[in-house]
């Protein structure tokens, strides 16, 4: 009941209350629906009833963005539902921070989105926000509690950021405590970026990047990051057999990667007729290898072979298969990947825009293709699109227990 009241407040009652307080707030109501097509021949099929794969879902969001006195706010209330599950609601302060200071020295305190990087499909320099890329109609980013000092000149900006103060190593790297130094500089029309971050989990991470526009139609960008340590999820090594395959962890383990490197290079080609093409290729030293996915598929097949044998509980097989699908929560499915993204916007300021893209994982020869269309009116926006997964039999995208997703989004801003 309390949650329902909070959500009602977020949906409709809060605007006049804040407006009375002299707030400068814009509101957006958004509906997103997703139809998921499961993959019937998935090797994880026995465990899928215990996961969310293949289930249709929808969510209704109410967003408030603006300022309340000196505090910048981004608040979202979400009511979400999934086929076969009870609807859930929650309120989130994605951002609540105050920027202050004068002259060259500026400060910021509170929860704030701290995205960084110059890439489109992958961003090695995004060491604080750790934004998940290429999601369809994603929810608003959730900021990072931080305290920062920044120094600005016309061409340089230095930032010292204490993120998640008081935290050591937490469950998610994004919530780890860390101290970061970021630098931005502009030299001869080229944007230069640098970052160094120290955290208990990854030790020291350091990297740099650039973005340049050598002609009115072409933008070039690149970035890299080196770390003293990294982490990745991978199936257990060695030949497993019998009960050893039925571990509740799905035989997945978190491995330490020594001195991983991440790098990306890309370009954007644009035309005056509204077309743009992004081409990128990258290396992610903490993503699973093709051998990892092959091992995952082999272990899933071996578990399926155990199902139905005397003395093997079906629930144990299903539970272990379901747990093994956690491997698909990794934001990157392959160490070597390439992206081609073609988009169009009406150069005359029309209502329609659209894009199609193809992301290929080069080591295991998997791919995902997405096409979407958007209509933007004065205050209303509609998005529709489809995403499809495929590739070689042991590739991550082919092993994913879904064939594809169709999605629709409708939003109203006021």
């Amino acid at each position: 009941m309390r949650r329902t009241c909070l959500f009602a407040c977020a949906l409709g009652l809060a605007p006049p209350a804040l407006a009375d307080g002299g707030a400068d707030v814009a509101w957006t109501t958004r509906y997103i629906g997703e139809l998921h097509a499961g993959r019937g021949d998935s090797p994880f099929a026995l465990g899928l009833p215990l996961t969310s794969f293949g289930r249709d879902s929808q969510r209704l969001e109410q967003e408030a963005r603006g300022k309340l006195g000196p505090v910048s706010l981004l608040l979202t209330g979400t009511l979400s539902g999934q086929e076969g599950a009870e609807p859930k609601s929650h309120l989130l302060a994605n951002e609540a921070y105050a920027d202050f200071g004068s002259g060259a020295d500026r400060f910021s305190i509170g929860k704030k989105i701290l995205s960084a990087g110059v890439g489109y499909g992958f961003r090695p320099l995004d060491v604080l926000q750790r934004e998940r890329r290429l999601r369809m109609l994603p929810p608003q980013l959730d900021g990072v509690p931080q305290l920062s000092w920044q120094r600005f000149t016309a061409d340089d900006a230095w930032s010292v950021i204490l993120a998640n103060p008081g935290h050591g190593e937490r469950g998610d790297p994004k919530t780890d405590g860390s101290l970061a130094l970021r630098w931005y500089g502009r030299r001869d029309g080229v944007d230069l970026h640098g970052v160094a971050r120290a955290s208990q989990r990854f030790g020291l991470e350091a990297g740099g990047g650039f973005s340049a526009v050598p002609s009115p139609a072409l933008e070039l960008h690149g970035e890299f990051l080196a770390a003293s340590r990294g982490e990745r999820m991978a199936p257990q090594d060695g030949a497993l057999a019998g009960p050893a395959l039925l571990a509740p962890t799905g035989n997945l383990q978190t491995e330490v990667v020594h001195a991983p490197v991440k790098a990306l290079g890309g370009f954007t080609w644009t035309t005056e007729t509204g077309w743009s093409f992004v081409g990128e290729a990258w290396w992610d030293g903490t993503a699973p290898s093709a051998a990892d996915w092959q091992r995952l598929a082999a272990q899933a097949a071996a578990r399926n072979a155990l199902a139905g044998l005397p003395g093997v509980p079906a629930a144990a097989v299903a539970g272990s298969q379901a747990a093994a699908t956690r491997m698909f929560q990794d934001p990157g499915f392959g160490r070597r990947a390439a992206l081609a993204h073609l988009a169009w916007s009406d150069p005359a300021g029309g209502n329609w825009s659209g894009y199609a893209d193809l992301l290929a994982t080069l080591e295991d020869r998997g791919w995902t293709a997405t096409a979407a269309l958007a209509w933007q009116g004065d205050r209303t926006r509609m998005d529709v699109g489809v995403r499809r997964y495929g590739g070689a039999p042991a590739s991550a995208y082919r092993l994913l227990p879904e064939r594809g997703i169709a999605f629709i989004g409708v939003s109203l801003s006021y």
């Binding site: 963005r65 016309a154 933008e219 644009t270 035309t271 029309g350």
Partner: protein
């Protein structure tokens, strides 16, 4: 006889043709931008087949040195900012909160071309010559053919018509990089603070002919932001506006 008349006309126009184009452009700029550094509140109305399709609101902070900062104010664009520094452009989208480097061609896209909203002067960017005199919108005008002197200008070529009497802008033909006529602009004059000023620019799309964009300058106020505000990394701060 006709040759004689043509010669007479050419001689009559010669003084105008010889005018200093930079001086003319500076005088024309003064009708669009009243102070060196200014905050211009701008409303854009996009009309489709004569009906209002959408309205957008922007605050534009202009500073000498070809620096413009555009803060998007409409509910559906809230959180966006565009920065122009000479030939370089950055965009911040609310979904990511990081400055994205964009090409000069990309700044022409969007609900209203932010290049049309953010560019308020010609003298710093263009040069050319006076090519004739003609009547436009019922006003006797000097016809200028001017070309962008830098790669980042929204329109590499403009045929600009300035009133012969006081050099206020009357009409312009705006050409894109392929030398295709993209838009025609009509400048509406009014009195602001007792002085004649451009109060609106009506852009008719020549590619999609049912599309008209009205750019209304709602207010102008002298305001100079510190240099640091025009640093792309500053765009994610809320010190100006959110």
């Amino acid at each position: 006889m006709s040759r004689f008349l043509a010669l007479l006309l050419a001689l009559a126009c010669a003084p105008a043709f010889g005018q200093d184009v930079q001086a003319l452009l500076k005088q024309a700029d003064a009708y669009r931008l009243t102070a060196q550094a200014e905050r211009v509140e701008t409303e854009v109305r996009v009309l489709k087949s004569g009906s209002l399709d959408k309205t957008r609101l922007y605050n534009v902070y202009v500073k000498p040195g070809r620096r413009s900062l555009v803060v998007f104010r409409s509910p559906s664009e809230r959180g966006q900012k565009l920065l122009m520094l000479g030939d370089d452009f950055w965009l911040v989208l609310p979904t990511s909160q990081r400055p994205l480097r964009i090409t000069p061609l990309q700044k022409l896209l969007g609900d209203a071309s932010t290049g049309d909203v953010a560019s308020l002067t010609w003298a710093e960017d263009y040069d050319g010559r006076v090519v004739g005199e003609t009547e436009k919108q019922g006003v006797l005008c000097l016809k200028l053919d001017i070309a962008g002197q830098r790669k980042g200008v929204s329109y590499p070529r403009i045929v600009l018509y300035l009133a012969k009497s006081d050099h206020h802008p009357v009409y312009a033909e705006l050409y894109v990089a392929s030398d295709k006529l993209a838009k025609e602009a009509v400048y509406e004059m009014g009195r602001v603070g007792g002085k004649p000023q451009v109060v609106a620019m009506i852009l008719t799309d020549r590619i999609q002919r049912d599309r008209v964009t009205e750019v209304h300058y709602l207010s102008r106020a002298a305001k100079e932001l510190p240099d640091g505000y025009y640093n792309p990394a500053f765009l994610v701060r809320s010190d100006i506006e959110n």
